[in-house]
Amino acid sequence: MKKSFLIYIVILATLLFSGTKAVDAAGPEGFTVSKVVQSSADNGPRVNLTTINGSFATGNDRVLVYDRGADMGESSDWRKATDFVNDTWLFDAGADGTVQLAIVFGKEGDGLVAKLFDDQDGDGNVSYNVVSGSPVIKESDRPTVIIVAKDGWWTKAGKINYNLDIKVDGKLQATEDFDLDRYKHEGIIDAETHVRDYDGDGFPDLEWTKTFYPGSDRDNIIRSHIRGSETKRLPLEGYAFYPFLKASPRTSEIELYTRSMAPIQIDWGRGKIASTGEFISSRWGGNTWFIKAKAHMRGEQPYKLDFENPFGFYDFSGTNDGYPDVQVRLEYNPPNDPIFNAELGRRFPKPIETVRYSWDIDHNHTWDFGLNLIGRHEIDSVVEFPEFSIKSIPYKEIPNWVKERKWDVANLVIPENGYAWTSEGVYEGQWLQSRDDYVTGFSDTPPDGEVETTAGVGFRVEYNYQYQRQPMLYLSPIDNRIHLLGASDGHWKIDAQRRLEYEDLNGDGYIDQWRLWNSWNEADRGVEANETLTYSGDYLLYSGAGLAAFAPATLPTALYQAAPPGNSEEWASFGQALKKYGKEPLPNTSLMSVFGRLSLVPTVINGAGLSDVRMTQKGLSGWLVIEPGFSKSGALLASEGTTLAPGQYMFRGEIPLTIRKATGPSLSLNGGMQLSSNAPSEGEQVGLSASLANSGEKTASNVLVTFYSQFGTDDPQVLSRSFREIRGGSAVKEDTVWFPRQPGEWRIGVRTEYVDAESNEPRVMEIESTVNVLPWDNAGWLGFVDVSGSGKTVLIIASLGLVMLTSLAAGVVLLSTY
């Protein structure tokens, strides 16, 4: 007995719960009613006009509802008196006798239709006549918006019907990015929107809009929109009588994206329909997605859509408050997309996309990380909907689709000073020029300055232009901060002056050098950073503030390592790791404090500095410069014959760290000078090159390399002049071009000049060659007769001879007539 009673209670509760959810589809209204008066518009015995006084746009508004179906009920309750089936509703904002919006409801077959008329002549009034008690719209013979509910109802049992087909003809925001200037109200449909509630729960599941742009197919505009919602929306609110009609005020962006406002908005002051969407807010909360494409949704299916395809929003925290925790935006261009790079006159035969992956790790409505990726992956999966199919990535698979692939270019942007909430994630770090020029192969090198302009003060940016790996992040044990695994470089603009730079010296994917500069300006800041921290895998080395410090250290490569969060578990795990390991990050203005944080006791040399610290295949190397008056704490091993005294030393990363005296630079031009042509002609382009080798250990800096030419006793002419730096044990090739302008004997040479840093003596080397330049025209005119390769030398000469003979004969004959 007790059990059966319990089952009864459970069933009852379930029913009650379901009913409540259905009723929830309609939320708070946006209007009030103060008075309802009924009358006969044609002075007949039957009531066919209901006047509703109240507020929907201003404090004092009025609605005139004319009955066209002879079924108006006599009641002071507007819901009982009027209907959305065969009545005409005239909305008079301000109750001043003008009409700002007219909706003519009617039936089409089994369906219901609402025809919306707004002002067309700019007087803020929709003009109409009342004929036989029924209003006839004079403002236009065609509606601006037509809404059709094929099911034959608008609302039923607390549910709102979201199976709608909408057509728009006019200058209004039919969808986002609608180019208003190109449309007019002329009887041609400009956009059609379809809304579907497939599971019949009273909430929209899918909405798509096709725009019929009147310009060229090559115009760079948005043509197609698709929006989807994976969970139930918040109840619809703010409507004025008709559930899709928004009462004043207009919906703000934050409301659009975080609440569920009535979608058809009116500019009540001007009497114009302002917009007809969104029924599914594109960027609402989590569990939402949208596609915004420049391509048409027409022709063969699946439709191949470009641009924002797809854009997913994820509520991994489950708070469902309208703010997503993760956003993944793909900007996709299929192969040979005619719009991609069209302004540059190019086509790219492969697919190409950028990904903007943003996440808020503590759901405090600020973005914490922005990952930007550029790749060349084709989106070839098909997403099927009941009425069409597209090439896209299913909503739930978007994060994994990104994480599973290798990317050509990557950067991680971290707003270290916090970030305002935006509806589309972290905007910094979108390297479109890299995509357009570099990844496409149109340029060999990444664009200049893109890194610098990526983000301003307070942003940390880490990147790699040859990423070629799956995206992964890690938390460094050295600075306790999240980094992009595989980043080659990075920087953090700390404030208006200071900047912290990052570099992965040995290419293992982990940052191992931090350089703190007190100035951004390269001209001000000198060659060496103000502070440098390097981790070699065996040693932690610091240089700055007039001292050098180093300590043996064996640290894990990462305290935590993970891909960007792609589900609730990963999102939570990422947050927990940050809380656990990232509590006390290394101060960005005091790199020396790393030793204390890691409980290391370094050897410190006051009055010394490290420079040119490198990680080579042989391990750590660099220079130790000791100034007069230095002091030392701790052990330091020097190679045999080396005594610690002021001067420049080379150090190596063997265990233990060893220093030794370095040999100075020793330059040579042993390879001589090469010419591209041994017997050049006058005016011919001749390539000159020379190889400069430094067999010493120290770098030869500011080496002036000058190529020159000299004809006879003329003054030598400089062909090129440049400063080079030649590292110890390496060689550089210098080349230039020479155009001998006259035949004869020329002398050409290359001269190198530099000052030996140790002896302060100038060093000059020079090599010279003598070249005999031939006259270019030694072949004479005959040599040029068949330069076009026609093979008709004889004919050409003969025809010219004939011309000469004819002209001679003409001259003779004409002269003879005198």
């Binding site: 006159g345 190019r346 086509r347 790219f348 035969p349 020029d437 192969g441 149109f442 340029s443 060999d444 002609s681 006058e682 005016g683 011919e684 382009q685 390539g687 080349d735 071009v737 155009f739 270019w776 025209d777 004479g780 005119w781 040029f784 330069v787 076009s788 390769g789 026609s790 093979g791 008709k792 004919l795 050409i796 025809s799 010219l800 004939l802 011309v803 000469m804 004819t806 002209s807 001679l808 004969a809 003409a810 001259g811 003779v812 004959v813 004409l814 002269l815 003879s816 007539t817 005198y818």
Partner: protein
């Protein structure tokens, strides 16, 4: 054999002297055409030839004067005629532009002879002037390249002839009306071929008219008033043709007007028959044409030598123009007939265009070389005047027995030199010119290969537009999905084609180097 015996033999061969006179320029035109055909074997790399090759191909393939892809904004007459000939004969567009079209040359010589005879009233002077026309380098360049100008000149010569001889037929109104009707037909045809050229022509007629009025008022020579009224009607009616053509008959011409971005360009088109500047062929600012001489020729002296005929004609004709003006306007000798007065007026109008062209060229505001466009037209009036001056000088000197032989010898030597120099200049002979106007078969093969294997790529090909404008459709096929990158190589250019010709040119071209590949 003495000169007089040679002349007697020639007379005996040709019969009546007037046939001899017309045969001289006509036969010379044939020999010149033969040389122009054989010089590069039809492998022209010249901008206008390339452009019209494309336009004509579009018309023949689409069957419409305005194809879906592009249309010549200045007119469609030449494309229509060319397409007709190509469709009827079956020759290729390349062959038409390089060879068949040159067959018009002898008839141009006959037309020029007829006009000059009307101007000068002398068959001998007309023959000399027409012969000179085919020596003149810029006119030979018109013959050499494959654009609309041979048709344009035919129409100008015919229209001018009708204009000059129509008033001479006296009171026979129906003949006069026929002549003027034909004149307007020629004028309208000129508008359809090149509306910019037609504008310039109408401006010159209007300027001649204004100058004539001025003279008739200042010097009280009211007898010329009727002639001036006629010129006024002609220029006004022609302007109506132009208006109707641009705005109603061939609306692509509206783009030609719209493309002129400033008043200087618009003025230049109206006054000087300049082409609106297109995309720059080479990097850098607009080129001063007179600096261009330095870079385009092996030396300025070479240029002066090759164009020495032009300088001689300019000096002689100007002296003759001054002499005629002084004699008839100040001296009132009364020997000035209508054709000569028309010649005198048109010389002044087109001379003013040349002067304006030189000034505009010097300012560097227009990329095109205006001298090249205006000068041949000016020569139509300068050559008869120069011939008159030469005749006077020759008669005076030959009468002095001691000077007879050296003067005759010098004159013959100069004629031969001028005829050769004109051809060398017109064909941009590679020995003298640095701006070559031919291409190699191997270069064509290279571009054809690249068209098949490259997509969405840039390829460096030469120092200037030579390869890009080399004739035929193969370069268009390459450009359908690729770009040529002439001049200084762009950093994103990945492909380079270096031919023997490019290597040879590198010895001449200054400031641009072959890519270091």
């Amino acid at each position: 054999m003495s000169i007089s015996k040679l002349a007697a033999k020639a007379k005996a061969l040709t019969g009546q002297p007037q046939y001899l006179y017309v045969a001289i320029p006509a036969f010379y035109a044939i020999t010149v055409s033969l040389f122009l055909m054989t010089r590069y074997g039809g492998r022209l790399a010249e901008n206008d030839t390339s452009i019209f090759n494309r336009f004509i191909s579009n018309v023949t393939s689409s069957g419409a004067l305005v194809s879906a892809t592009d249309a010549y904004t200045q007119g469609m007459g030449f494309q229509a005629v060319a397409s007709f000939v190509i469709s009827v004969t079956g020759v290729s567009v390349d062959a038409f532009l390089s060879f068949v079209y040159l067959l018009l040359s002898p008839s141009l010589a006959v037309m020029a002879y007829t006009l000059f005879r009307a101007f000068t009233g002398s068959a001998r002077l007309a023959s000399l002037s027409a012969f000179f026309l085919f020596i003149q380098p810029e006119f030979l360049f018109i013959l050499f390249r494959g654009n609309h100008e041979k048709v344009t000149f035919s129409l100008v010569l015919t229209a001018l002839l009708l204009l000059v001889i129509a008033p001479l037929i006296g009171n026979r109104l129906h003949i006069y009306a026929t002549f003027m009707g034909l004149f307007y037909l020629m004028s309208f045809a000129l508008v359809t071929v090149n509306v910019g050229f037609a504008m310039s022509w109408v401006f010159a007629v209007a300027a001649s008219c204004a100058l004539g009025y001025l003279i008739s008022i200042v010097f009280r020579q009211f007898s010329m008033g009727a002639e001036m009224a006629r010129l006024f009607y002609i220029s006004t009616s022609s302007m109506i043709f132009i208006f109707l053509f641009i705005f109603y008959m061939y609306t692509p011409s509206i783009h030609f007007i719209q493309a002129l971005t400033n008043a200087v360009e618009r003025g230049a088109v109206l006054l000087l028959a300049a082409e609106p500047a297109g995309p720059a062929d080479l990097e850098g600012p607009a080129m001063n044409p007179y600096e261009y001489v330095n870079s385009a020729w092996t030396s300025p002296a070479t240029y002066v030598l090759l164009t020495s005929f032009n300088w001689m004609v300019a000096v002689l004709s100007f002296v003759m123009w001054l002499y005629m003006g002084y004699k008839e306007i100040i001296g009132r000798t009364g020997t000035w007939d209508r054709p000569r007065f028309t010649l005198w007026l048109f010389y002044a109008a087109f001379g003013a265009q040349v002067v304006a062209g030189v000034i505009t060229d010097r300012s560097g505001q227009l990329g095109a070389n205006l001298q090249l466009r205006v000068f041949p037209l000016f020569m139509l009036f300068a050559l008869p005047l120069a011939a008159m001056a030469l005749e006077r000088g020759l008669i005076n000197t030959i009468e002095i027995r001691a000077l007879r032989l050296p003067v005759t010898g010098l004159a013959l030597a100069l004629v031969v030199w001028f005829s050769v120099a004109g051809l060398l200049k017109a064909t941009n002979d590679p020995y003298f010119s640095n701006r070559w106007t031919f291409y190699l078969p191997q270069e064509r093969e290279g571009i054809t290969w690249a068209s098949s294997y490259l997509q969405y790529s840039k390829m460096w090909v030469d120092f200037d537009e030579r390869t890009r404008t080399s004739g035929g459709q193969y370069s268009s096929r390459f450009q359908a999905t690729n770009q040529f990158d002439p001049g200084v190589m762009d950093p994103d250019t990945r492909y380079v084609m270096i031919s023997d010709i490019v290597m040879e040119r590198s010895k001449r071209v200054k400031g641009i180097t072959i890519p270091n590949v």
